[in-house]
Amino acid sequence: MVRAAPLVKVENLTIKYHTPEGEITALQDISFGVMPGEFISIVGPSGCGKSTLLNALAGLLKPASGKITIMDQPVKGPTPLVGYMPQSDQLFGWRTIYKNVLLGLEVQNKLTPETKAYAKNLLEKYGLKDFMQARPNQLSGGMRQRVALIRTLAINPEILLLDEAFSALDYQTRLIVADEVKQIINEEHKTAILVTHDIAEAISMADRVMVLTRRPGRIKNIHPIELTCSVRTPIKCREAPEFRYYFNLIWKELDIHVA
């Protein structure tokens, strides 16, 4: 197998926020690469800069120093190569499911018969055909999250950014949705970066887990995850014998103190 070049390259990235109260260094000297098709989870203490990192990858923030390249193009602003999935589904109640899915294409002036067919096909493929004309409030939380993912996939991005994308769901739904999302991402051959507070979720979904330090966020470690499980779905992977080991390792690294 030929060793491919990284899809995403982050080099010495430092990001600061300026407020009247002062300057906050959110991220300091972050460097890593993401291979095509890879799934990376990011965990770290609250406020360590995880969302900041995703915002920078999405082109919404200017770095203080360092650079980000995606497919050898420097990131200067939002690009169609990147699809962002917010914390709660953020479906628009005034649009039908189908129109919600077309939102990104509409904004990017890419509504053509082909792109519409692609979006429609995604909805059909992932069991939402009968709900195309429904409104978001007629769907369950899990289905809404699936629609949100398809809305992101409809612009056909190379890389997906998920910022605590399942945290608004109840525990059972969350497990199922994580399974579905992982399966869809695999099937569509996408690369993904997931930010989460849930260590088990991070391990069960990812090829590698990145642990960030307290603010200013630096990379503490990046752990390749090797789990032996017959079916590689997040729920099944939680039963792998190595799971505990990774969990304890990352738990210790997060250095969480319960006062």
């Binding site: 939002p78 699809g83 904004v107």
Partner: protein, 269 residues
Amino acid sequence: MSPERSFPGISPDHLRYLNEQKAYKNKVLLFQILLLVASIAFWEVATRLHWIDPFIFSSPSRVVHTLLSMHHQGNLYYHIGITLYETTAGFILGTIIGTVIAVILWWSDFLAKVLDPYLVVLNSLPKIALGPIIIVWFGAGATAIIVVALLISVIVTILGVYNGFAQVDPDKVKLLKTFGATRLQVLQKVILPASIPTIIAALKINVGLSWVGVIVGEFLVSRAGLGYLIVYGGQVFRLDLVMTSVIILSIAAALMYQGVVYLEKLFTR
């Protein structure tokens, strides 16, 4: 399906509950009608028996008589029409102009910051006080009255709609930005559609404010309309005319409000 269910999916218990609800609603409606009938009857009896003076309190039969004579003279519809036109123009213009200014303020944070103290002052100022100035500027006619009505509602609309824009979930805006949306697209695709309920709420408030503006405007201009009839009737001591106009006014205002409620149902499903 179990045999005791007469309708599929509705149990006898639920049926009883539904019937009780319906009976209760009917009872409320019945008492509402009774209250109205009793008040009118009492008003009529009290004036007939001279418990109160029919000359200054008028009476239902005198109101009906006035209504009929105005109907025959034909000027009833002229005055109602004028007032309806001024009110409708006032609240529609107030809502549209207010929303447009709110959009401009949303667009330019700088302008919003600069204008903030002026809006606060204008908001607390009783706009009616500007009535005489408006009449001098726009002439004593329908235009001045519409401007007074508009002025009363426009500042409230600007503040309400602008705050509504600010309350749109920032994550929705962020989502659009990740798609590379321009500011205009953010406005079109998120801010405005998400604010439809806020704009309709403003419209609802403006209907009431516009009535106030128009009636006061007509008091001042004294040319035509229900407000004019009320002032004129008061001046020449024709309380029948005053009462008749007030009753027409309350019916018209209630109907117009219901119209906006209907509009709300149409737009916010």
